[in-house]
Amino acid sequence: MSQKPHLIVVGNGMAGCRAVEEILARDPNKFRITIFGSEPRVNYNRIMLSPLLAGEKSFDDIVINSEAWYADNGITLVAGDAIVAVDRAAQTVTSASGRTESYDRLLLATGSDPFIIPVPGKDLPGVITFRDMEDVDKMLAAADAGGDAVVIGGGLLGLEAAHGLALRGMKVTVIHLMPTLMERQLDEAAGWLLKTELERRGQTILTQADTGEVYGDGKVEGVRLKDGTEIPCSIVVMAVGIRPSTGLAKAAGLDVERGILVDDHMMTSDPAVLAVGECVQHRGAVYGLVAPLWEMCRALADSQTGNPSGYTGSVTSTKLKVSGIDVFSAGDFSGGEGCEDIVLRDATRGVYKRVIVKDEKVIGAVLYGDTADGNWYFDLLKKEENIADIREALIFGQAFASGGALSDPKAAVAALSDDAEICGCNGVSKGQVMACVAGGATDLDAVRATCKASASCGSCTGLVENLLALALGDDYSGERTVKTMCKCTSFTHEDVRAAIVEKGLKAIPEVMQEMSWTTPDGCSSCRPALNYYLLCAWPAEHVEDPQSRFVNERMHANIQKDGTYSVVPRMWGGVTTPNELRAIADAADKYGARMVKVTGGQRLDLFGIKKEDLPAIWGDLNAAGMVSGHAYGKALRTVKTCVGSEWCRFGTQDSTGLGIKAEQMTWGSWMPHKFKIAVSGCPRNCAEATIKDFGVICVDSGYELHIGGNGGIHLRGTDFLCKVATEQEALDYCAAFTQLYREEARYLDRTAPWVERVGLDYVKKRIVEDEVGREALRNRFLYAQSFLQVDPWAERASGKESFLHEHIAEIRPFAVVGGAA
């Protein structure tokens, strides 16, 4: 046994683990450490449960301390076994499973419990709180089952829950007892703006609504308000507030009021017992936010390692980051004697700013719509700085108020104090970022990996980059280790896609606004990518932006080097008819095709067609029953087949028939890049299925499915995915794989580099092993297809977007002939 004193931490959450991290940072050999947690998992970022619910993050994304962290630091983690009793006399704790351990120091970090309002029906199945992973899982299950949700509580937590559930497809009603939303953080004006915006997004917000009961027979069926109003629903989320979890401390005989009483060094009434986080009460205050927790943990670690600093309480600020709605508040905004308000409203931008000043100091701020200066106001507030000199310009923000000197962003961050908060999500101060840079993190990605600043929501990325520039001077090149989408943004493809879903962004300008694009309307790389990501995320609602399509997709034909186009009608599975061939021949004659070529994908290509003639030739081909072959698109191209068992003496299955079915299922689908399918009727593989994105090789006993192949510059043979028994399964796996690729590959990645990046095992896990997931992917694909399978040629032939094909006018010798005005 070790001679080191034994520190037992009760609570494997953000406070408990942060306290341990702080102690280890000061003296890694001080304690032998055991952490008990009631949840059966490692420590994760609880404030990121909202993005998890909204589908923006996975559990792995929000893990703070992985298993390796516990192992590397010699920490014993007992997860899923809560401490149920403390014997202070014997200095032991006992867990639910009966395990007893003795301690030299005990740290209580039990956090808080959700408050359940005591109404009839509160215990019905379907009443959920929003506190941990289990709650999120329950909400996700409810959302999958469909139906309506009621969220009780219009505070930070309730609104984030409502937002997540709405994004998961539920119709959401928020019931709030008070007249305005988030009344503890927002004033009336900002609360109203917030309510209006949420209602615009389809949520029902009932304020001054008092819950009478939750009703239902054996499970939740609805909520009845005290005024008799009934709101039917399948789940109720109780998010009215949290209470310090003090049961264990109280039973152990510690001094407890609203929270566990602690001194400035986080010591309870028993010197061997410490406490931090939401469970404590310090100088009369309890906190339900993350920032004070970091400060408490620092003070605790300082005193435990012989260098006591003391915690003096926190001034808190709040940022709501749901739905791309920016809300910030800090300090006191209730007004009163001697308080003066400075207010700025900009209705067209949807901005409301209010700074409350007393005795020439900022004492509070409420910002809606533009929260960029939130940290600055918060810093002024905490520092109690005299603002008399900048009062006139205060409301316009830091850059303006500092008279231009600070409009240089580097100067602006240089002016921040070391303990100014940079990253609210992860509680990282300017000093910590600078220390992290001094410790060798010389680019944004290293900073994100080391101290986590800007790694969560990313809204402080610019600040972090300015700090890097400030610290490194000319040595900072701004280069990234991860690849951003293009030069217009600091975000990766994955970041942007996640934000589109999480923030509900529906249009390219909206994405550029929300993610702070550095160019006014993007570039020729990001615009087509954004257009694709939007259409993939919102199949039913997406509005095409033809000007963000590469020419071939805008014109639905392939541009050639002389500016004419080539036209390829679809031939299902490579099968044609004499009638189709006659129509193609006639069209070739009529529109002067200078070459007719058989393509590698088993169809015919007509070359040399003029832009103006495209709608007419498409009309002619439509009349013979043919549609666009999408030979020009980042889309399903062809399904190549051999003749299979119908004709071939070696054929084992009807490969032609399966190919036609596959093409009928997948045509019209837009993809990150071109996508080719082939079906071979036997292992001789005449259709070359092993260099396609999705290939099927028929064998006597079924269908071998292959993925991730392509010809081209970097020839790549397919990987074998799995074998299935029936034609229907082959089609279902094809749909699921296609959708996985559509949803997760970066724009302009073909399946080959994508599969190499994520690994074959990952694809197998999603498509082969996860039956439920596969079915869901397949269904999402077919749902998207119900909107995409519209022949673009028919639309153009009937006159849609004719301006793309007609000249605006024509200049003849000495005259101009106008197009239709």
Partner: protein
């Protein structure tokens, strides 16, 4: 503005052909709203070089000869962003303002002066007819 009536050298309803070189330095080719935002349309010049008319996000209109200085790609079919068009053939970026290739590439395409009057697009006659045989 007084010359405006004389500038209407084409009657857009009747397609009357009018003699141009007698009367105007500017050719009226249509209205701004005939151009898609962030897009372009073409203006063939019989016996001369086709012109591309561009419209940016904030509604400014520019005219270039519709040929990339690189391999004569039709610039009108490129993606317009800010005051730039990216050629659809090989992604050269061409400034709409002065016709110069941007970035590493070198080359220049002739520009045609444009002015907007009452929502109508007027382009410089002399430059538009340049290159005519």
């Amino acid at each position: 503005m007084t010359a405006l009536s004389a500038l209407r050298i084409a009657d857009h309803d009747t397609h009357t052909h009018l003699d141009t070189h007698m009367i105007a330095d500017w050719l009226d080719i249509g209205t701004v709203d005939q151009l898609p935002a962030l897009g372009a349309r073409t203006l063939p010049v019989r016996g001369g070089k086709e012109i591309a008319i561009f419209r940016t996000a904030n509604g400014d209109v520019y005219a270039l000869v519709n040929q990339c200085p690189h391999k004569q790609g039709p610039l009108s079919q490129g993606i317009v962003h800010d005051t730039t068009v990216t050629c659809p053939l090989h992604n050269w970026r061409i400034s709409l303002i002065d016709g110069h290739a941007l970035g590493e590439d070198e080359g220049c395409v002739p520009t045609i002066p444009v002015k907007i009057d009452g929502g109508r697009i007027l382009i410089g006659r002399k430059e538009a007819l340049q290159g005519m045989a």
